[in-house]
């Protein structure tokens, strides 16, 4: 394999694994902060038990997110030095602000929170978790400001062979940020909701029907439901924005080869990239226009016309991302997004009817349902990043021009192998520890010394 292939695999694998932990952290910090606030307000010990039990799951996940996050910060320079030179003027700034504004906040106050159960007043202790929640969600904002430039470059000029920042606030106001950031934030809520819901179901299956478990069941179902409804709603406007700004990405995700008005929606397709059409497809007339513009008419550009446009603009190359990969990733995300509300609503219905413990088959489904938010966020990012190919920065730099010339095949292979192995190992250990914690099923372990 070439250095660039190894570097791509490494970035893809490590970033996908890193983003298992990130949304859970984003959603869990807010969830725990809400629960602890409820405890402070009501002095109901059940809430405290909930905070204690779920915070242990959160802390295991948080540690994994922190250590894999260090790699993220360094690997732009390590594997993508030419990208770092080309983009440093723009990309480095939000990254440094992320560290200054968000990482310090979350890392300092998570320490105070974990070690401060006995030292801080309950009110102040709950405030610490809010600071952690604000810190982690702010970190998402700044990294997405950086990432959004790669999808939709704004506020820059090309000078000295690189992109140079001319308007800092344009980076922040980048329209892509304000569809992507709410999408990621609500994805975090969804992830935390369905993880806690699935683990509560697992506790119920073990016969642990304590009040704190039942209340966790209900609270997480509500939280996850709100999250998944928001993520779908925001996702819809994000897709509409992408039809305008990154039409190739959306066209590939919809396996939409030819420009149409009104445009038909493809619900099933097997694309044939060689002859640039779908070998098999099932289509609903007018629906892609409806999704794109909220009405049954309106032109949606197809892959083939976009390819011709880009060849005129940027010179001959293949500007078409892998269509089957895009189509199935995108639709897997959508499918996961449609299944989750069904699970959450039925869970709430059962809780209302006080029949939760009786429907064991459904509890098992909820345990499997833990995978859904992870499937959705992984496929969502694959669409976002693969859909930009061959560009690393849309219209400005191609991936092939971004890789480090200083790194040899042997070095890239070593890091890919070693880091992937360590990521898999620590993720495995993390899952093992969560399962152990679940087996113990006791919320008393935080702050009591273990």
């Amino acid at each position: 394999m070439s250095v660039i292939a190894l570097a791509r695999w490494q970035f893809a694998i490590l970033t996908v694994i890193h983003f298992f932990f990130v949304p859970l952290t984003l959603g869990m910090t807010v969830f725990l902060a809400i629960l602890e606030t409820l405890y402070v307000r009501t002095r109901d010990e059940t809430y405290k038990k909930m905070v204690q039990f779920w915070s242990k799951v959160f802390l295991i996940n948080f540690a994994l997110g922190v250590v894999s996050g260090i790699v993220q910060e360094f690997q732009f320079g390590m594997n993508w030095s030419e990208y770092s030179r080309f983009m440093g003027d723009i990309f480095g700034a939000p990254l440094a602000i992320e560290a200054l504004l968000a990482f310090y906040l979350e890392s300092t106050f998570i320490g105070v929170w974990v070690f401060g159960w006995e030292k801080l007043s309950p009110k102040l202790h709950a405030a610490m978790m809010w600071l952690v929640a604000i810190g982690s969600n702010l970190s998402a904002l700044w990294i997405l400001i950086a990432n959004s430039f790669m999808q939709e470059p704004v506020g820059f000029v090309l000078r000295n062979g690189r992109v140079e920042m001319v308007d800092f606030f344009a980076l922040i106001k980048n329209p892509n940020v304000w569809v992507q950031f709410p999408h990621v934030l609500s994805a975090g809520m969804t992830t935390a909701g369905f993880v806690v819901l699935g683990l509560s179901a697992a506790l119920l299956l073990k016969g642990r029907g304590d009040e704190w478990v039942l209340r966790s069941f209900k609270a997480s179902a509500i939280y996850g439901l709100v999250g998944v409804l928001l993520v779908t709603w925001v996702g819809h406007s994000q897709a509409q924005h992408m039809v305008q700004q990154q039409p190739m990405k959306m066209a590939a995700a919809e396996a939409h080869w030819e420009t149409e008005n009104p445009a038909a929606y493809t619900i099933f397709a097997i694309a044939d990239p060689a002859s640039r059409r779908n070998a098999v497809s099932i289509r609903i007339p007018g629906f892609l226009s409806l999704l794109s513009y909220d009405r049954f008419s309106g032109e949606v550009k197809g892959i083939n016309e976009l390819q011709a446009t880009y060849e005129r603009k940027y010179g001959p190359d293949n500007y078409i991302p892998p269509v089957n990969f895009m189509f199935y990733s995108f639709h897997l995300m959508v499918l996961a997004g449609m299944l989750m509300p069904v699970l959450a609503i039925y869970a709430l219905y059962l809780h209302h009817k006080e029949q939760v413990a009786e429907k064991r088959w459904f509890l098992k489904w909820l345990v499997w349902g833990i995978s859904l938010p992870f499937i959705a966020s992984t496929t969502g990012w694959l669409v976002t990043e693969v859909g930009r190919q061959p560009w690393i920065v849309l219209g400005l730099q191609k991936v092939q021009d971004a890789v480090s010339p200083a790194v040899s095949v042997g070095e890239a292979a070593f890091s890919l192998f070693a880091l992937t192995l360590v990521y898999v190992l620590i993720t495995g250990v993390g899952i093992y520890l969560v399962l152990r914690h679940l087996d113990a099923g006791e919320p008393s372990s935080v702050g009591a010394g273990y």
Partner: protein, 336 residues
């Protein structure tokens, strides 16, 4: 003073904060096998840095982010050039970071032994690698005219750089011993005091050797003089720390060494200025605060941002240290 110089100073400040703060928590990790004879004692040791290590580590991450933002070519050349060293650093930091969280979760001696090892190596290796890296940056490495490192990994392991690495390890170990003397109680504190006394001559000896070997590689005459003066002051601070330790005033001993570490770091950066990465192939190829820099607009914007945020960070991080100022001993409730 131009923006480039301001950012060079700011990055030196971030590295100083990093070595001062994470220096002692690396030291605590390195001393773990000697300070803790049984699991209970090792828990005391780990809990002294429990609330702090993660916040300390952000100083390194911010330094990296600031290099990227202010001097993208420095970040790109250094991180892609010192590739294997960086991979080893990351592996060590991953192992160390999860070890703190995972260790206490299972009450089994074999389990805890694994994570004790991770904490030890995960603290020793980064201390060594940062020393090796900074020494190489100053001494010069093969960087060609296109700002690309062409040296390979083993080029970094020259005797001078290794001496730098060993110096960092020993000084951080001493720093860790001082921290433990302040933070542990009773017999454990006494043990840390003994360790500090034993490590001190080695740390000073290494710094004297490293400083002596550094003089020939320093930059222009005025900088060279300033760096030498700073190193002499650093050595004085190290000596002061021993005097204070002998008088059993550990707060002063700790502060004195912290000042020494800051002076040592500043000396390295002064010796480097205005270069940020020295080329051993041709002085003209060396990256400088001008050739490696971001645009003036970015530097100016980031100065405003950092000026607003860094003081706030210092205040709340200081507060967290104040919050957990008590010594840790047999009566303490342990979290890790």
């Amino acid at each position: 003073m131009d923006w480039n110089t301001i950012w060079f100073i700011l990055i030196a400040v971030l590295f100083t904060g990093f070595f001062f703060l994470e220096g002692f928590d690396y030291g605590v990790g390195i001393l773990l096998p000697w300070m803790g004879k049984d699991d209970q004692e090792r828990r005391f040791v780990i809990n002294t840095i429990g609330p702090f290590w993660d916040g300390n580590e952000v100083w390194m991450i911010t330094a990296g982010g600031a290099m990227f933002a202010a001097f993208p070519h420095w970040y790109a050349t250094l991180f892609s050039g010192f590739y294997i060293a960086l991979v080893l650093l990351l592996l060590a930091l991953i192992a160390r970071g999860v070890a703190f969280e995972f260790r206490s979760q299972v009450d089994d001696p074999r389990w805890r032994k694994v994570w004790d090892q991770a904490i030890f190596w995960g603290s020793l290796l980064p201390a060594l690698l940062w020393g090796v890296a900074l020494a190489n940056i100053l001494r010069g490495v093969p960087v060609d005219g296109s700002m690309t490192y062409v040296g390979g990994f083993f080029n970094l392991l020259n005797p001078y750089a290794l001496l730098g690495g060993v110096t960092f390890v020993l000084i951080f170990t001493l720093h860790g011993a001082h921290f433990l003397a302040l933070k542990l109680a009773d017999d454990m504190a006494a043990r840390a005091e003994t360790v500090a006394a034993k490590v001190w001559p080695f740390a000073v000896g290494a710094l004297v050797l490293f400083a002596g070997a550094t003089i020939p590689v320093l930059g222009d005459a005025p900088n060279r003089l300033a760096a030498v003066v700073l190193v002499i002051l650093a050595l004085a601070a190290l000596s002061g720390s021993r005097v204070f330790a002998h008088r059993q005033t550990w707060g002063k001993a700790f502060t004195s060494l912290a000042v020494g570490i800051a002076l040592m770091t500043v000396a390295l950066f002064v010796g480097l200025f205005p270069r940020v990465l020295v080329s051993s192939l041709d002085p003209a190829y060396s990256l400088t605060i001008y050739s490696a820099a971001a645009s003036d607009y970015t530097l100016k914007t980031m100065t405003i941002v950092a000026g607003m945020l860094v003081p706030v960070v210092l205040i709340y991080q200081g507060w967290s240290y104040w919050m957990f100022r008590q010594r840790i001993g047999r009566k303490s409730k342990l979290t890790y």
